[in-house]
Each structure stands twice: as structure tokens, then as C-alpha cells.
């Protein structure tokens, strides 16, 4: 395959990955990696390097809008970034020593888990119980604009959230994905944040987390300009268009269709990993 053809195919695929990733809330990274490895025979190390770059591009782009709207809790973000950056570097270093086949199998499992999470009905866990000492010390309790009304919320179980974030960061660094699904669990279910705050704050943290592991990948030569260039341009444009469509479209049916597709991809990744294809 020539460089031109490869670039065009990856550009188109990355556009679709970014578009669907933003519509379903899965993110572009989890789709572009199977596409590159299963579809185009690219080594998973290059795919991960390119994907982590696209995670920085998309999350930084959307974080800009959310931060301005006042939805992001910057203190929670900064505090938990300690956990996610340490995790991200840890993950990227583990990836150096781990056999590519294991990485593919773990990737497949996380992919199935993430797609299931997008289908799960969200339960509001918010509370006004201000008893958490950790939340008070780190000034994490806050408020956000909810249908025009500034609504306060209290934060619980700071330590639990912190450790979950360490884990989310590690997977992000290991697999080259944003691991938004895990971050949202840590913030929704454990720390009891409102959805709008948890999703936007998770997005806000993703850029720094991805940057931490991206520098490890850069030093290892996993970020190849020939792949990273079409991937990050395509995913960013796709995600931007997706975000515009999302406002109008009903995504429930799409989410189910997409979860099935993603699960099939995931099973292929696991199968290929177990059968020595990587």
C-alpha cells in the first residue's frame, strides 16, 4: 500500500471513529486501534501511539468549551490528575514489557466493558451530605449550572475515587485510550458527582493524562508521524462533527447498534491476541 492510499484510508477511518466515538460517548481511541490493527495490519504499538495523540486532540478541544460553561470542577480535575498521570506513566512503562498479545486481550476486555457502560441506564448518585473530610480539605465540593440554576453538590469518598483514577490512568497509558468509562465510574458512583460535572471533568483530565503517557510513547518511537498525522486530524474532525450532530440526534438506537459492532471488534482483538496474531 502506498503512503497516499494509506493516509487517505486512515483519515477516513479516523473520521468515522471520531464521529461515532463522540456520538456514543465511547471516544475515538477505542475504535481507531482495532481499525488500524485488525483492518490495516498496523502493529499495535504504532496504533496505541497514534491513538493517544488523538485522545489529547479531542479531549482538549471539547474541554475548552466545557470549562468556559463552568461545568468542569477544576479542583477535582487537578487533584485527581495526580493519580491519573502517575497511572498513565505506569501503564505506558508496563506496555514496554508486556507482550503485545496481552495488550490486545486487555484492550478487548476494556472495549466490551466500555460499550456495556454506554448502554447502562445512568443513576443519579448526587448528595448534599457534606461530611467527607477529604472533600472539605481539598475544597472539592462545588456547584454547577443545571438548567439555568446554580446547583450545589457534595463530594464523597475522595480516597476511593483517587485509587479508581490511578487504575483508570494505568489503563489509559497501557492501551492508549482515554478510559472515560472508568473515570466516570470513579466520579459518578464513588465520589457521587452529578453527570454533567463528572463527564466534563473526566474529559478535562484526559488531556493531561494522555500527555503524560504520550511522552513515554514518543521517547520509545511509538508515535510515527505517518500514522499519527491522519489519525489525529481525522478523529478531531469526526468528533467535532459528531458533537454538532449529537445535539439533534436521538442516539439510543445508535448506541445499541454500536455496542454490538464494538463487541465484535473486541472479540476479534481477544481472539487474535490469544491465537498469537500480535
Amino acid at each position: 500500500m502506498s503512503v497516499l492510499i494509506f493516509t487517505l484510508i486512515v483519515l477516513l477511518g479516523a473520521f468515522l471513529a471520531g464521529f461515532l466515538g463522540s456520538l456514543t460517548g465511547l471516544g475515538g481511541g477505542v475504535i481507531i486501534i482495532p481499525l488500524l490493527t485488525l483492518g490495516l495490519g498496523v502493529d499495535i504499538h504504532y496504533a496505541i501511539g497514534a491513538s493517544i495523540i488523538s485522545v489529547i486532540a479531542t479531549s482538549t478541544g471539547s474541554a475548552a468549551a466545557y470549562v468556559k460553561e463552568g461545568l468542569t470542577n477544576m479542583r477535582i480535575g487537578m487533584f485527581l490528575e495526580i493519580a491519573t498521570t502517575v497511572g498513565a506513566i505506569l501503564g505506558a512503562v508496563i506496555a514496554v514489557y508486556l507482550n503485545a498479545a496481552y495488550v490486545a486481550v486487555i484492550f478487548g476486555c476494556i472495549l466490551i466493558f466500555s460499550s456495556m457502560m454506554t448502554l447502562k441506564k445512568k443513576v443519579d448518585h448526587t448528595t448534599l451530605d457534606y461530611t467527607s473530610k477529604g472533600a472539605k480539605f481539598f475544597k472539592l465540593n462545588g456547584s454547577y449550572p443545571n438548567q439555568g440554576v446554580e446547583t450545589p453538590y457534595a463530594v464523597k469518598n475522595v480516597a476511593g475515587g483517587f485509587f479508581m483514577m490511578l487504575f483508570a490512568g494505568t489503563l489509559s497509558g497501557l492501551l492508549g485510550i482515554g478510559s472515560g468509562a472508568l473515570k466516570v465510574i470513579a466520579m459518578d458512583n464513588i465520589m457521587r458527582l452529578p453527570f454533567k460535572v463528572s463527564t466534563t471533568t473526566s474529559n478535562f483530565m484526559m488531556g493531561v493524562t494522555a500527555a503524560a503517557s504520550a511522552v513515554v510513547y514518543l521517547h520509545r518511537g511509538q508515535i510515527d508521524p505517518g500514522i499519527a498525522m491522519p489519525v489525529c486530524i481525522g478523529v478531531l474532525i469526526g468528533a467535532t462533527v459528531g458533537a454538532k450532530v449529537l445535539v439533534k440526534a436521538k442516539t439510543d438506537k445508535l448506541k445499541i447498534v454500536f455496542a454490538v459492532v464494538v463487541t465484535i471488534l473486541a472479540i476479534q482483538m481477544i481472539y487474535k491476541g490469544l491465537s498469537g496474531g500480535f
Binding site: 502493529d43 487537578m78 475544597k139 505517518g226
Partner: protein, 131 residues
């Protein structure tokens, strides 16, 4: 939580500043990547791709220093890599700016937290974990 009215810089100002920085960072770095991509395609479009097996030494542009040295040669790949580096720096610059803002706001706890995050990334950036 009560906000003191005497504070000159509020969380709202920080939010707006951070939002603008993030947006500008993405636009500028992607612009550089696209420019580099076009040059890269002009020079290499008919060559064969070879990404089937990962080779640590295939990509030569791996450190901040080499990328800065190579970008002035105006080769497509070097410009792309420079743009990607700018993109990686954008969220890092965001943390730096937040540290300064928290300092002006006199929230020293968050100055320390921000510095911890920066230190972690800087240690990683120096290449300490890559080998």
C-alpha cells in the same frame, strides 16, 4: 463556600482563560500537523508503507531536542512531529497556567497540587521512564 469580593481573579476568570488556551493550543498544533502532513505527502506519497512490525529505531524524531533541531529542515515528518509535540504541550501548559492562577488566588494547596502534577510529567518528559 463564600467568595471574598476583594479577590481580583475569580474561578470564572480562570475558567475563561483556560478555555481559550486549550482552544488556541489545539488550533495551532493541528494547523502545524496539517501543514507538515501536506509536505510529507508531497515528498512520500508513492512510497510503500511499512507498519506491520514495530521497530523502536524506525522513528528518529523521538525527543524534544531532536524534534526542535529537525523542524528547521522543513521536512514534512519533522513538522508533523513538531505539531504533535505542541499538542502534547497544550494540556501541560494548561496545568502551568492553573498553577499561576491559583497562586494569584492565594490557593496555595492547589499551587502545590498543580506542581506535583507538573513534576510527574516533567520527569516523564526527560525520558526517565522510556527505557
Amino acid at each position: 463556600m463564600m467568595m471574598e469580593e476583594t479577590k481580583q481573579i475569580t474561578d470564572k476568570d480562570i475558567q475563561s482563560l483556560v478555555g481559550n488556551l486549550l482552544r488556541a493550543g489545539v488550533y495551532i498544533s493541528m494547523g502545524i500537523v496539517i501543514l507538515g502532513g501536506i509536505i510529507y505527502l508531497f515528498d512520500h506519497s508513492s512510497e510503500k508503507i511499512d507498519y506491520a512490525i514495530f521497530d523502536m529505531n524506525k522513528v528518529s524524531l523521538k525527543t524534544v531536542a531532536t524534534i526542535f533541531e529537525e523542524v528547521i529542515t522543513f521536512k514534512g515528518a519533522a513538522i508533523v512531529q513538531f505539531g504533535l509535540l505542541m499538542l502534547i504541550f497544550t494540556p501541560i501548559a494548561r496545568v502551568m497556567m492553573a498553577v499561576i492562577s491559583f497562586f494569584i488566588e492565594k490557593d496555595y494547596l492547589y499551587v502545590v497540587i498543580g506542581l506535583i502534577v507538573l513534576t510527574i510529567i516533567m520527569v516523564s518528559l526527560s525520558g526517565g521512564f522510556a527505557h
